[in-house]
Symmetry: C2
Subunit: 702 residues, 2 copies
């Protein structure tokens, strides 16, 4: 990808002298920062912005590693062919008019992609804003020149954005406000070739990138994306558009890409150690917060000191802590002594540290610095939230000293800033240079400090084992010849063969067989009519519980057989004692492939809507983490004196489901409902496996 990020020469195809047009803006932007060769390509001008033009990219001299293409869509296929002939490694297609613009555009995109594959030219875009590299001042983009108006603020946050206008607009905002620094921003548009996975891989190795933020509407290769996120030592923040039903519909009409089910996407991202954002500036704020403190000590906890000039703001900050996984730290005697030295006598030091009374006597700088020193020295404090005000009341703090003290102590410092407009801006710019994240809202400050202290990347292990190996041959033989929805007995037998605990059960064809089976497993038993034509057994009145004797077995067998028109068989099952009902299963997501679901079942299911997802493969640790994400931990731990769920046993089932999904593309869906946990052990009581219809596999009619 170096030809995109560090090209030695760039051909601008579609160059023009008209300053309002993209073909000129690209050249202007290049001339302001890029230090390689620039070759305008156009048959209509001799010279653009003082640079000699070339009629065709074929005429462009060396060195030329990359082309930026801004011409009408219908000309693009030929241009890519020419780029290939000229030996250009990559082209950024910044023009629109492709798949986003109706069927005609989609056909053009397909044709272009074909030519690219043939010629080996990598394509970035189309319908995008290209690349802005604020550190190297490389603006390979039609972004409006106003982006330069405050200079470029370099930083260590890199972004990938699927939406072109958004990338450009957002970036102009960020760059001109000067409160946040940027490394590289990649606008990837329609992703016909280069996609978020390729760029993420590049940025993970980029020494100038410390944190990565992404706005995505779809993820091209979910498993690869997750693998990259997992191995990343850099914080990754993702804002996924289209997580709501109406949002997903809007995304489909915007980029023609499936957004996937919100809960599945969230589950997979969380599993991969990604921090999820839900708004644009919030994403940027989380990135710069996480990028500012990449290497916290491993024993960092979540205990916060709040430094404030306003008791009220201290209280409101405190109110936010719990929801962000933080607690107000208890001050130790050492830090209390330090504070007492700058507090009035009547005031006992506490957390939040209400500094105003001290400031009256000792001045802002001394009191804030001592308060930071106290928090840094205190073993009961992990992070510092400082409220700062500038432009009045003599409250200007000595931010460089505060930042230095905090950094030396390895404790993140985050500031909430308010004040007179110009003073606030100066403070933000200063803080950006000092790598201190400052925010304008109390909640955002707490949220970002929470993200830093609870950075999920910290605890993430690389998956080593994904459970005992699955007998793929056995699975294949069990599935051979099957298709569509399998009945309960078939489904549970396959799950049992794959090592998932199921109820003791026997499929019987006569009352005598049924009695023998029931006697062997012990009373009471459950009997179910199994008719391949009937999926909802309960609704069809084919399930009987509490059968306590052989005599009853005979009678029920007769009833069930009659109800099925003497067609089906009868399943005799050991009756499990009451227990917690769970639902576990396997679904396929268009982006992440096979995903495992774990949720609460029974009467609680509708009420609590407590379901969590993770993508396959699942390590045992992943599965335990997934179980830990259920809201109903109180039930899992044994509600009202019941025995706790054996989490390892449940995790083993989830790991197995993931393996099944990966082992056989034939398995579309597995639904174990209920999985009952009695005496702690989870057992599948009913299940449905849905396979691909035979027609998909063998070309037969099903």
């Amino acid at each position: 990808m170096e030809f995109f990020f560090n090209p030695r020469g760039i051909a601008v195809i579609g160059a023009t002298a008209d300053q309002r047009k993209g073909g000129n803006i690209i050249i202007s932007n290049l001339q302001k920062g890029y230090d390689g060769r620039i070759y305008p390509v156009t048959p209509r001008y001799e010279e653009v912005n003082g640079l000699a033009c070339y009629a065709s990219v074929l005429d462009v001299p060396d060195p030329v590693d990359m082309a930026i293409v801004y011409v009408s869509a219908k000309l693009v296929p030929q241009i890519i062919a020419d780029c290939g002939q000229r030996g250009i490694g990559g082209a950024m297609l910044e023009s629109a008019g492709f798949s986003e613009a109706g069927p005609e555009g989609a056909a053009l995109q397909e044709e272009t992609a074909k030519i690219a594959r043939k010629t080996g030219v990598r394509l970035w875009g189309p319908n995008c804003m290209g690349l802005v590299d604020a550190v190297n001042r490389n603006v390979f983009s039609t972004v409006a020149p106003s982006i330069w108006s405050a200079g470029m603020t370099p930083g260590n946050v890199s972004l990938i954005a699927q939406s072109g206008m958004l990338a450009g607009a957002f970036l102009i905002d960020i760059m001109t406000h000067g409160a946040a620094g940027i490394s590289k921003v990649c606008s990837i548009g329609n992703k016909m070739d280069v996609h978020e996975g390729d760029l993420l891989e590049y940025l993970l190795d980029d020494p100038l990138t410390g944190a990565i933020g992404m706005y995505l509407e779809s993820i091209v290769d979910g498993p690869r994306f997750m693998a990259l996120c997992r191995k990343s030592t850099k914080p990754i923040v993702v804002l996924k558009g289209g997580k709501s039903a109406q949002g997903a519909e809007a995304a489909l009409s915007h980029t023609a890409s499936m957004a996937g089910q919100g809960a599945v996407v969230s589950g997979a991202l969380r599993q991969a150690g990604v921090v999820e954002a839900n708004d644009f500036y919030q994403m940027m704020d989380l990135c710069r917060a996480l990028g500012a403190y990449p290497d916290l000590p491993a024993d960092t906890q979540n205990r916060v000191a709040v430094l404030t000039y306003s008791g009220g703001a201290g209280i409101v900050s405190t109110d936010f802590l719990e929801s962000q996984g933080l607690v107000l730290g208890d001050l130790g005697s050492g830090s209390i002594d330090i504070l007492q030295s700058v507090y009035p006598e009547w005031m006992p030091p506490k957390n939040p540290m209400d500094l105003w009374p001290g400031i009256i006597g000792n001045g802002t700088v001394k009191v804030y610095n001592e308060a930071v020193r106290a928090a840094c020295a205190d073993h009961g404090i992990d992070g510092i939230l400082a409220h700062c005000f500038v432009g009045g009341f003599g409250l200007e703090p000595d931010l460089p000293t505060m930042a230095r003290l905090a950094r030396e102590a390895g404790k993140p410092l985050v500031c909430w800033i308010s004040g007179e407009r110009k003073a606030v801006h100066d403070f933000q710019v200063q803080a950006q240079k000092l790598h201190v994240p400052v925010f304008r809202e109390v909640f955002r400050s707490v949220e970002c400090l929470g993200a830093i202290l609870n950075n999920p990347q910290k605890g993430l292990s690389v998956p080593e084992s994904v459970g005992a190996p699955l007998d793929r041959e056995r699975l294949a033989s069990l599935l051979a010849g099957c298709s569509g929805s399998l009945d309960e007995f078939q489904s549970t037998q396959i799950l049992a063969a794959m090592g998932i605990p199921v109820l003791d059960e026997t499929l019987t064809a006569s009352a005598g067989e049924a009695c023998r089976a029931a006697e062997a497993m012990g009373f009471p038993v459950v009997m179910k009519g199994v008719d391949p034509k009937i999926i909802h057994k309960t609704e069809a009145n084919l399930v009987r519980l509490d059968i306590a004797s052989s005599q009853e077995v005979k009678r029920v067998f007769g009833e069930l057989a009659a109800a099925m028109g003497d067609q089906g068989k009868v399943l005799v099952q050991a009756q499990i004692k009451d227990g917690l009902e769970l639902i576990v299963g396997l679904v396929r997501d268009p982006q992440f492939g096979p995903c495992v679901m774990c949720g609460l079942g029974g009467v609680m299911a509708e009420l609590l809507e407590d379901r969590v997802f993770a993508a396959a493969p699942l390590t045992h640790q992943d599965a335990l983490a997934l179980i830990g994400r259920l809201k109903s931990q109180a039930l899992i731990d044994g509600f009202r004196g019941g025995q706790a769920v054996d989490r390892d046993a449940l995790a083993a089932i989830l790991v197995r489901l993931a393996q099944l999904g990966l082992a056989s593309p034939q398995v579309l869906e597995i639904d174990i409902n209920p999985l009952i946990v009695a005496d702690g052990r989870p057992v599948a009581v009913d299940a449905t496996i849905v396979l691909q219809k035979a027609s998909h596999l063998f070309g037969q009619l099903s």
Copy 2:
């Protein structure tokens, strides 16, 4: 209160020529805007800032309506006495050193209050920033002069803030950023006399106030506060500090005032039609959004049109709608036709309206204006969220026209703005003048549009009836001589007498009585040992269910009597069939007085933590609204085929509990647990009434 808001002359007591000191800043601020007479009072100067000084307030000539006092706390009592003698109506005490500063300060505050009561001087403060009136340019405050640096931006939002530093700092920020307008900001400090209720009452009648925001740590007179909020036709937004446990502790140490239980406070505010905020700028944003659209048509619904230059931003906005009680509106054919006239042919108009492709051909102004016109003409759209970008890409919209179209159609327009720094600021200032709320974050824009369209004030009726009258004499006679925790039988008998449905039950002293009672009510019955010394009957094994015959009644009677050492009696109760278990009750909040609680009981209680509160008195409508706030609506509506709860019957019980709390201060707490709903009808199955200990009422030892 006019002497505080419109004084004809002001004495500044504690005037000084030292420009760094509050006593000078107050005078400077007055000189910049106030057009009445200013009298510096100090024995140390002849003249301050060109104004003649008076040695004592007693020497100040007419007219003088108000004094601003900024002297050391120990001088204040005498000064208030002097103010009274001079006939001054009100004093703003802006100095600190009172109850917030230890016991000595608290004593001074008490002494000052006493003198004020005697002399009739109203006191505002102490420990506060006084008043800033941006419309009349009256700054009666020690707020730093930087507040004037961008002029004063007048608006229709008035604020009341309990925290002094916060009020000053926040206000400088708001005023100098120029994006939001302010009418009056009242900093009320320690509230020794004038409190939020007094000021709220004033602001409700103030024609220059359109919306009211409050930051409060405590509420002095909850019932009066609620009554004011209820009758208000102006939107009220409250940020209550100290709602979390740690926050409440911080509030207690900050202002020595009880914050109250967060859920109770939230319940009472919601009941009174107050919008709750949780952060400072968010409070201000909600205020200016609500203040901008005070008179929406009564049939306004929650259907939003999203206008955007970025498909991605449209998707993210859509993702936020549901959580804010909004939906994406379906476009009608009329608005589709309007959009089609400015869209490229390949693009079908949809909501979110993705305007960029149209802008390429028709320009921003035309396309945005037509899109607003379309939304305004569409009967399926109630509000408009427009994404605007300024400072690049030729995206500057014609905001005045958009604002006019929306206002003429009676549909609120809210904008999300981003762009080049200076252009964004200019846009914010312009929008402020046009009364269009604009925000920097997508979420905040959606949140504020949600607050406008779902403004709870809309549906609020003034309480007319609070249920059938309660027989106060009967209640008094039932409670006479009782104190402390009443036992189950006493409690349920009192509730039954007050009209709350309870189980059929009889307290029996012999096995024979028990048998007769059981036979009369029909089997099965429940029997409970009632021993005044034992509160937790279940834990003491004094509860027996499923007693099916007279023989069993005799046996159980003997067992229970023996277990109680032949001391207690035995309660025989009809056994209710299984049903939904609720918990309802009465608690007393330090601020709101008697409050009613309604929540889920039984095994669900711990898991769902579903409890809601409202303050007494409760109308039937209030009670229905309270029930409607439970998360578990699915259970209330009859979970899995069960019969729905009779909401009117449940509401009647809640109304009654509120009446009980108001009727007798002796009743500290009522706990009906469980209230079982079988066949839809709620019945109290067990209850405890807690009365004040006798010592509190009669001075006896209990």
